[in-house]
């Protein structure tokens, strides 16, 4: 199954979009843990794209593509920004960074998804979650 969304870059669109996405994913019968992880990673990536990629300009959309099979969910989030090098983001788990305010969103995505990749420009993030690893609630 595949579905594409074009989302205005406004933070109020984030919860609406994640609700639509979780509705679309209902046939997968995700566990509570999987729903939490998918929602968190989706919302963190949308917020990053809207804020840093599209400067919160509602007229500039974020493109979201969802693809799933019984065993795998792929979410691709693309903005119209210049892109960035995620290797430059400080490791938020290092002691000297624990009190910092930023950097946790992308770190959580790396930890909660099974595979992530960026395009060469750095404005398109693909996230893959393998399904069925967590026990059903």
């Amino acid at each position: 199954m595949k579905k594409e969304f074009q989302i205005p870059s406004s933070l109020s669109e984030v919860p609406k979009t994640s609700a639509q996405v979780l509705d679309f994913l209902k046939p997968l019968k995700l566990t509570e843990g999987e729903i939490f992880d998918v929602r968190l990673c989706l919302e963190e990536s949308l917020i990053n794209s809207m804020k840093y990629g599209n400067a919160l300009k509602p007229e500039i959309p974020v493109r979201l593509i969802l693809e799933y099979t019984d065993t795998e969910l792929k979410m691709t989030v693309e903005d119209h920004g210049e892109g960035f090098d995620t290797r430059k983001i400080a490791d938020c788990t290092k002691e000297e960074n624990l009190l910092k305010q930023s950097g946790r969103g992308i770190y959580l995505i790396r930890q909660l998804m099974d595979k992530i990749s960026y395009n060469a420009k750095g404005n398109c993030l693909s996230m893959v979650k393998y399904l069925g690893k967590q026990a059903k609630a």
Partner: protein, 107 residues
């Protein structure tokens, strides 16, 4: 999200219900800024979802409390919410208690 600010045994207690996310975390920050106690407990038992903005808000509350010579404990979080603290290593930064009652005796 709903934040109830209470005084209990000389502590400022913030009982949070619902989701702490980019839209709601300013409300928690605002409630926190109204208090001046040096002993603070944030009861997260009824928090169902937290994102990086919510985590950052709690870090900010901890920093401000410590800067005033106080202490802040987090209480009663669900396993899923707690796992985010563990993944981000924030469990090393915060004093985390299994319940509000425990926090009120140990913070």
């Amino acid at each position: 999200m709903e934040v109830k600010a209470l005084e209990e045994n000389g502590f400022s207690v913030f009982q949070v219900t619902g989701e702490i996310n980019i839209s709601t975390s300013p409300e928690l920050r605002k409630a926190f800024e109204k208090q001046s106690s040096k002993k603070v407990v944030v009861d997260l038992e009824k928090v169902t979802y937290i994102d990086s903005s919510g985590l950052a808000t709690l870090v900010e509350m901890l920093k401000k409390t410590k800067a005033q010579g106080g202490s802040l404990g987090l209480a009663g979080m669900t396993d899923k919410v707690k796992s985010l603290f563990e993944i981000t290593k924030l469990d090393k930064l915060f004093s985390i208690y299994s319940s509000r009652a425990q926090a009120l005796t140990q913070v």
